[in-house]
């Protein structure tokens, strides 16, 4: 009888080994003996959901002979990963939070490498009648008219921070907005899922243009508000400061930042998705005039 048990255990071990082989084959077959070094970067969901990181990752890995681990998370938790030393570099889009991160000594330097714009998207019928307004005026009308709902990221991400800043500029206390009624929905999801949820509920939401364009074919949402300087969205990269957080792979993190701002990659960022979606998802570099 116990033979059968051994056979079963043997089978499990065999499966495990086969799986291991499969894993290795998937990772690229023969590898040099010293295991490749790994670089961990935490990124905001919009850079991941649009596929930009998936596009850049193999190029960086090839150029520097390193395994790049891209972990997608909202800006809030991405910065926390940095503070705790779980990642070596961060690419996010919440300037105030980034500056605090650096002021607290956790980040070396804020290096903007791309930008685009936020949009308020919503159902084509535009029940609240906010089309074409400035973002602040649109939010004001939304909260006062009680027509149409709004899905908020509600996850401390860069987009969520932007939303809060628009509420503030429109003259509302964010806590009051959160309690304003059932029309205000805190999704607690990444950018892509939030868009899908807004489309499902035929609600308005704030999104970066890149993720919106990427998801557009799956959405019944149209751009409602797309002008206003508040809507600027700057992505920057930061290496985690090895002086404050021990164990950071700072050399490779610096390589990653140099890679992102190198002319060749900047050009690729600018042209990413243009062919597929008929428009630019990311504008390379920082915005002229701002730092």
């Amino acid at each position: 009888m116990s033979k059968i048990i051994y056979r079963f255990l043997g089978l499990l071990v065999l499966i495990t080994m086969l799986a291991g082989l499969g894993g290795c084959a998937g990772a690229g077959g023969v590898e040099p003996l010293p295991p490749k070094q790994r670089l961990r970067v935490a990124t905001t969901t919009s850079l991941y959901d649009t596929g930009l990181w998936g596009y850049l990752e193999p190029m960086f890995e090839k150029q520097y002979g390193v395994e790049l681990d891209v972990i997608y998370a909202g800006t809030g938790i991405a910065l926390e990963f940095g503070r705790r030393g779980d990642v070596d570099a961060i690419t996010v889009h919440d300037r105030a939070a980034e500056e605090k991160f650096i002021a607290d000594g956790y980040g070396v330097k804020r290096v903007p490498f791309a930008h685009n714009y936020f949009l308020i998207v919503g159902p084509p019928a535009d029940p609240a009648g906010i089309k074409g307004l400035e973002p602040e005026a649109a939010f004001k009308k939304l909260i006062e008219s009680w027509k149409g709902s709004f899905v908020s990221r509600g996850d401390n991400s860069g987009t969520h921070a932007k939303e809060k800043s628009i509420w503030k500029k429109a003259g509302y206390d964010y806590e009051a907005v959160q309690k304003a009624g059932a029309w205000y929905i805190e999704g607690g999801k990444g950018m892509g899922p939030t868009l899908l949820m807004a489309s499902e509920k035929q609600a308005y939401t704030l999104t970066d243009i890149g993720t919106y364009v990427f998801y557009k074919s799956k959405l019944e949402l149209v751009p409602i508000v797309d002008k206003g300087e508040t809507l600027l969205n700057v992505y920057s990269a930061m290496a985690v400061n090895p002086a404050k957080v021990p164990g950071v792979n700072i050399d490779m993190a610096n390589n990653l930042i140099s890679f992102l701002i190198s002319p060749a990659i900047q050009k690729l960022i600018g042209s990413y998705g243009v062919k597929e979606y008929g428009m630019q998802l990311f504008v390379p570099g920082d915005v002229a005039g701002t730092k």
């Binding site: 009888m1 116990s2 059968i4 048990i5 079963f8 089978l11 499990l12 499966i15 495990t16 086969l18 799986a19 291991g20 499969g22 894993g23 084959a25 998937g26 990772a27 961990r40 959901d49 998936g54 990752e57 395994e67 681990d69 891209v70 972990i71 997608y72 503070r83 705790r84 030393g85 779980d86 990642v87 999801k189 990444g190 892509g192 899922p193 899908l196 998801y215 799956k218 957080v245 021990p246 164990g247």
Partner: protein, 229 residues
């Protein structure tokens, strides 16, 4: 509903064509969860024997406590392991955050209570007369205990498979401490979570079907073993 049908077709396509990415993800899922289940077994077998064969104060309460942890949410374990193994945490020196190793740790922790509880039940389920027979034939207490452990083996294997099932189907620990890194810590459940968030329902359903097929295969194997016994 069309998605489910299309997902089914897609699953069959992915399996027949041995799609390298899907195979890699499925292989990794298996490897991590099988390792966790075997590790948990290695922890639980001696621990369960200790608890079962000894009489002590609070034994009933301890077993109740173990059973309470059957239903501990996976994200709570994920959070706990994250706080422990994050570089700034007490076990940060191991530097295994966002690796398959920490996923194994988390899943082992997750399924240990289930395995422990079921192993104790398995030992309790052994016919009392076997102990009496062994003792009457001159076996020492320890030898009699070994007889009981041996007799319980089928129930124990069932417990290990149950633990494996909970490990391979969970997403909380894998996502939180694994980070769902492509080609490194992405497993079936985290891939489903990501693909669904991308709105790619067909691929998600296909991956879900593959997960169910794995579970089915393991259960069939288990049934065979139990029938032969």
């Amino acid at each position: 509903m069309a998605e489910i049908w299309n997902g089914f077709i897609r699953a069959i396509e992915l399996i027949i064509s041995l799609d390298p990415e899907v195979m890699e993800i499925a292989g990794r899922s298996l490897m991590i969860s099988v390792t966790s289940a075997l590790l948990a077994w290695a922890i639980c077998m001696p621990l369960a024997s200790l608890i079962h064969f000894n009489r002590f104060l609070g034994k009933r309460a301890l077993i109740n406590l173990i059973q309470t942890f059957y239903s501990v949410p996976t994200v709570v374990i994920g959070l706990f392991v994250f706080v422990l193994f994050s570089r700034a945490g007490p076990l940060g020196g191991f530097n295994i955050m966002f690796t398959p190793a920490v996923m194994v740790v988390g899943q082992t922790l997750l399924i240990t209570p289930v395995l422990l509880g079921l192993t104790i039940s398995a030992l309790s389920g052994v016919d009392k007369s076997i102990v009496d027979t062994a003792r009457s034939l001159g076996a020492s207490g320890l030898q009699a205990a070994f007889v009981v452990v041996k007799e319980s083996r089928f129930a124990v294997v069932a417990a290990v498979v149950m633990g494996f099932g909970r490990a391979i189907s969970e997403v909380g620990v894998a996502l939180m401490v694994g980070g769902n890194i492509k080609g490194f810590t992405r497993v079936i459940t985290t891939a489903i979570s990501l693909e669904t968030s991308k709105g790619d329902l067909e691929l998600s359903i296909a991956l879900g079907i593959i997960l169910i097929i794995i579970a089915l295969a393991i259960n069939l194997a288990l049934n065979r073993i139990q029938q032969r016994s």
